[in-house]
Symmetry: C2
Subunit: 258 residues, 2 copies
Amino acid sequence: MPTPHPQPRRYRLVADELRRRIEAGVIPAGSLLPSESTLMAEFSVARGTVREALALLRAEGLALTEVGRGTYARPIVPVRRLASERYREELEQVRSGELGTSFTADQRVDWSAYTLDKDFREVPATKVQAELFGVEPGTMLLERHFLFRTHGVPQQMSVSCLLLDMVAGTPVADPDNEPWPGGNASQLHSLGHTITGIRERPRWRLPTPDEVDALRIPGGVHVVVITRQTYVLDRVVEVAEIVMRADLVDLDYWIDLT
Amino acid sequence: MPTPHPQPRRYRLVADELRRRIEAGVIPAGSLLPSESTLMAEFSVARGTVREALALLRAEGLALTEVGRGTYARPIVPVRRLASERYREELEQVRSGELGTSFTADQRVDWSAYTLDKDFREVPATKVQAELFGVEPGTMLLERHFLFRTHGVPQQMSVSCLLLDMVAGTPVADPDNEPWPGGNASQLHSLGHTITGIRERPRWRLPTPDEVDALRIPGGVHVVVITRQTYVLDRVVEVAEIVMRADLVDLDYWIDLT
DNA sequence: CAGTGGTCTAGACCACGCT
DNA sequence: GCGTGGTCTAGACCACTGT
């Protein structure tokens, strides 16, 4: 809808003023904006106009809306930096055999605030999954569905798949062993596979209704979806799809050229 | 706006039906959807309801809208894979001293379809720029604004900054030398700097009015913004911000753990 | 319960793209 | 000029969240 109407465009004026107030701190982060009816009165516009202004602010990531409560300025939330280097750190741990020592102990302490919903299924690979693994469609996979929470708040959904004949009968296939100390790298190491590389393909989209529900995503917030392939040499040993609220993460990739 | 109204919700029904038609190929990619007034008649709903349905399809990336023309199913467009490995390839070229030979020649052929708008400025570093470079705010920078086109179609906007006292008086500071064979890596190599790493931080947002204008972004399409820092050892030698239509690129990062 | 946002209607005027 | 979407109004009923 690239720019008709050279005139005022009232919904823009309303949005501009609200944006100004939010950025100036007149409306502090996390606090409620005036209600739609208040805004109708203040700016002398119809409700539809107010709602268009609020929709714009939501799309810009400046405001969130909850039914029955109101629209509020986006609270300042701790953003999780998702740096590619975290994989290297995980692997260092595994290689040095230091699981269960200081670093892992620290992790465990952090884990006290974490809870994990898990659901393991054995399924034949879909066409997409097969392509990502480089195997024939129908090859059996162990599909592991996770929902991570911090202090009870849902943070991340993921589906991680392993080739079933690589894990069947091992502790990795037992959901009771999750969360696994040292994570994926450690898990694969226990199966005799040492990760040599990871490929990540991030994209952004609207959340599905399932995701809105599971992650309690407020109106106007998008999700980041990362498709991850874990490699041992040229072989893909794990395929995962990770879904997070886009406003809670900050992707950070390091490309080493030495 | 997480899900009130357990009932039909008409705009959803309209959107669902249109989505079905698009995915089934009843409405081929690139072709126009029925006009809003046609949809009003077909589904017996008010115009606002039709517009909400179309807004949803736009937000999902399935439809694009152009004023005076209509709303059409997203055409199938060649998506550019933005793989991190491309930096390694550039660097290989530079290292092997093969600029001007086959590979570069091929590039040049490709370049025949490219045009580049450029605008160089000498500016003091803003706080953000200074932080990215690791220098004091106010340090002079060469700010290079580029707009890339393929066959005349704007594809990518970028602003690439170099430390002015590193480039002043060199061919790199002359816009007439753009596009530079071999790209950034080659350019920095000519200054005696061999790149050792790159950090990229991708994010996603609505386009600014400037971006809508420069990149001719249709309604409902977002942009990917990549903040790039080019490193020589621990020193940042280039900082760039790259803006592309989100529906035309596919980010692909490889994390080597060997 | 009152107040919030979510959905929907039925009008209206305007700027834009085509023919 | 006609049809397109962009904006705007003034109503209405509903579900959800609080008290």
